[in-house]
Symmetry: D2
Subunit: 351 residues, 4 copies
């Protein structure tokens, strides 16, 4: 955190949406002396925000009135409600105000909103925010799109929210005054650029997660040679059962890879913590949600003509984890029945 960024306490921010991330961000801002006027339909969240010194508004109108001109209002909302809030909020704002969407909007929506707000001389900034529940302490990585003037006005906010230079060792080849990117925020380009970069970030995240998950699954089933198998025409026997007799201590393996290996990462750090609680992960069922960005990243790649086999496979794996492959699987079973008279097997499985 960069405590000096708002020493004169003159920056003021409206903040709408005090969910899991929003509340933490307000606390981080307040702690650095940036005064927030907050609003959320959940009054408990509002009360929590006041504990960090934030001022609560009882309505969007109230929030707007409590902010000095030119205003800056940060939205931290589910994608699906941003436009609804903007419909109410926009008429309340004035020329010169800035709206920041810090949620997970599709960058195409940013292009539309920015054009619409520009007709009222209201600035729009799209800010992709990464960091999750750890951000309050660790800081937030921010990918920013929009007009220079608005970006510059809000830069103290971004710098406060950012992790700061010391959050990582300096890259070889970087010298002099650290750039914003080295603080953990970046003006990526015109409107849409922020959420575009965030979209790709999340697409990568899906790929990274799936890579670890698949690898750990290979280790998890490395004792397949100990399982007895059925013998029939539709089932291939495991050819080398003696090669699959391992019982790996997955929590230790994950811990091991955190030090000195090529695959160390923050996601691996988190996995180690989770696996220390329960190596079998039995408290999870394996239904993996996807929140939009991974889809949009794949869509953008397809429109650009860029091959993304890994990112797409990771995305499809999530769909499949929720059972969306079912009909396709039935079609294949039907075909197998059609040409070979094969009935579906039940259990135990032909590993």
């Amino acid at each position: 955190m960069n405590d000096s960024t708002n020493a004169d306490h003159t920056i003021q921010l409206g903040f709408i949406g005090l969910g899991r991330m929003g509340l933490n961000m307000v606390e981080r801002l307040q702690k650095a002396g940036i005064g927030c006027v907050v609003f959320d339909t959940n009054s408990e969240a509002c009360i929590a925000a006041t504990k960090s010194g934030a001022e609560t508004a009882i309505s969007l109108n109230d929030l707007v009135n409590k902010l000095a001109l030119p205003r800056a209002v940060w939205l931290m909302l589910p994608t699906a409600v941003v436009d609804k809030v903007l419909t109410v909020l926009t008429p309340l704002l004035s020329a010169g105000d800035v709206v920041i969407d810090g949620g997970n909007s599709h960058y195409v929506a940013d292009l539309r909103r920015a054009a619409s707000l520009a007709t009222r001389q209201i600035y729009y900034l799209d800010v992709g925010v990464s960091g999750g529940v750890w951000g309050r302490e660790r800081g937030y990585c921010q990918m920013i799109g929009g007009p220079d003037a608005a970006y510059q006005r809000l830069e103290p906010v971004f710098r406060t929210l950012a992790p700061g230079v010391e959050a990582a060792t300096r890259s070889s080849g970087r010298s002099g005054e650290p750039t914003p990117a080295e603080h953990g925020y970046l003006h990526c380009g015109p409107n849409g650029a922020g959420h575009f970069v965030k979209m790709v970030h999340n697409g990568i995240e899906y790929g990274l997660m799936a890579a670890y998950a698949e690898g750990l699954n290979i280790l998890h089933q490395a004792n397949a040679g100990n399982v007895r198998q059925e013998i029939n025409a539709e089932t291939a026997p495991l050819e080398h059962p003696a090669r699959y007799q391992y019982d790996f201590p997955l929590n230790d393996v994950v811990e091991l890879w955190r030090r000195g290996s090529v695959i160390g990462s923050w996601l691996l750090d988190l996995t180690a913590i989770e696996m220390n609680e329960d190596m079998t992960l039995s408290r999870y069922t394996g239904r993996v949600s996807d929140s939009g960005e991974g889809r949009w990243a794949a869509l953008a790649a397809i429109e650009e003509g860029v091959p993304v086999p890994v990112l797409a496979a990771a995305l499809f794996g999530r769909f499949t984890s929720r059972g969306h492959d079912e009909f396709a699987d039935k079609v294949m079973s039907a075909m197998r029945h059609g040409f070979g008279g094969h009935d579906e097997k039940t259990a135990p499985d032909d590993k």
Copy 2:
């Protein structure tokens, strides 16, 4: 069928394994005048075979004794038991005899068996057979590997089992006396070549099946826009519900594609039959077996350094249909919990 191929009725074949395919093959051979001496541990199958004129043996020893020299013995067995049968059978055979493995063996096993049998001057032919339960009427496509001499001796058998030239229109560019390939059997090369080609054939088959299955799944879920969705930070709303309001008559669509389209195929013909029975395929659960060749095809590709993203994706889809992705999915849920505090969603799903 080519009724003239065995006009003198001198060819005799030992046949071990009267399962789903074996029994049909014996019937096709007997009908064409090729006398079979059959053996199976299932006595009902043996009785069925006698109805087509085949002679039944009560043991492997009996079978060998009932065949004139030089013998030819065709194995039509589950992969996992071929070596067990060969252990008993081989000492009973004589130099100059031929063993044909018509099952779904790995071609690497062929290399080993051929070398072993060669030390006793026994020939080995590996024959990949495609055709399924339809083969008795439609004929069997046969991919053959092994020594020329043995191939030539057995050619009347292959020709009898093959569908025959008339099973497809002649390809432009083919003229003169039809080649064996045009009859539906081919000497692909030395030992292993037959099952290698069959292995790749099945790899392709998995890919084709998955392609149809995925496409039909897109159509099946083309009314996703009619499903109400939850609004929260982890779920992206369907952006254009109005675009997904179709209820497609899948049985008619599949039927339609059989005529004049680029994607007409025998697998599509079978799918049309299945869908005419029940368009929803509700009698299937969607657990799709894999019988080895698809795996081996992927293994061979990887060893050769050949990219097979489609064949591998089809193979992995089968593993996943049987739940083998579960632990990987739990890892991803654990990571999501780790960085975002996300709990797993239950139902309804975030389409």
Copy 3:
């Protein structure tokens, strides 16, 4: 073809676009007695059309004037110019007229066009057409979306263009008067439904093609064991060179699979013809175009939340065949240099 469908010669069709497919379609229609008034900016194509009895128009205006009310105008144009032509054409048409888009439009464009034309009481039908250059003789598979009234008026045209019932054996489970689907055309649903089904059809097509292509590539490189390999820390030796010593006659293998195998298809028939000309396919470079539908199918799947790993892999393979993976590959080389000091290898390759 169904010669009786227009015995009274009263159906008349405007036809815009005489490219590779359009000209063939006009010839098939004229031969069946459906009179066409054609227009194309390419006068040679117009002259060719007159040979089949079609009447030529010198402008869109002329074409419209030569058609009796209510008119039906079939567009067979590159996707990118359909809207341009409609801009000129629409004001010339009258309430009750029908516009048919038989090209490869995105179904989302259909929704927009249908709504726009409906404000003038002009009907719009979207028709996905499959069959390629073979359609004139073989007939065209047609997937149709739009209002019932328009569909019914045009049904004789669809039936004439369709391959007809005899183009395939009747599916078990089908009886009575053959349905339109069994003739090779189908009213799939409201507007967009036709191109939606065609989009999925082409997505499947990409998957099928890639499945065959990958399998043949495994066979093509099955002699990898004969290639000498470099020994160094970055290159894994081929572990079992003796297993990869095959030189397969690919043209014969493809021919073989056409009879009796599970993977017989029309695409395989075409491959056999191509391979008979030159088994090495040396006249091709391997840059594979994609014309939009495969992308749209993947986009639709992603929006629906349907996993399509095979279709997407096939699509990405086409992007990659045109070099669009290049920057990604450079990133990976850079990373390898970063952690291991690895320089890129040139040739010969580590198979």
Copy 4:
């Protein structure tokens, strides 16, 4: 590094193979007081090793003679030469000696070697080592398989080579005396276990690298909307060129993601360094080697029946980067010619 681990300087290690990694490892060991007797056919590497205090042997025989009983000999060799060296080395060793293979051997080879050496009462340890050229300073992550007795005897060596506890923050849920895994080395199980875990580690590594590479490629081509496109029937126009007008500063984006984002990792750190040198990566051609482990990981997954779509896609991407998709692409071009008369496009491309 853990300087205290060998305070009595009694541990002595034979070390064969002074390549990129081996030499660094010797230096790290010598610095901690573990005396190495080294051998390499490259005399320059031997001379370099002596600078760190290592003793040079002029032959394997000499090396063995210079070691006190019971000996420990560490091999750090290309996979392809390990067995050759063992053929010469093994007869020189005595019962109770330990051979450590620290290279990238296939774990199946470990099983064979361990069994063979065990007949002479020689211990075998398989140690997967990660860390690359950075390991000398950063330490080496070590995954160890083999008998307890040998592992325990060598533990001071492993601890010296390991990064040490302080190389990462301690995971929540870990307390008390740090385990070996927290130091950066782990006895994963019996023989083969070490290289099995390393194999999976590298499989994951391929997946992670591809995920970043694909994401950066999407950003790299985010200005696709500025490129003019051809209009024809085979090419879909970019539907929304206005959405692809971004010129992203990739070096800054990569730097940005290093702080506070979910996708921070050591691979990303390295990418930032590489991109600071040249954002376009023009010094690379994009031919990406694979050194075996990624293949073996995929093979193991397939044998286990575990779906690894991401890891396999990453592997296939490497094959493709070296042109191994060429024949498959030609097959697809041939098919397109066959059904549509399509000629291959040259340039410019249909993005």
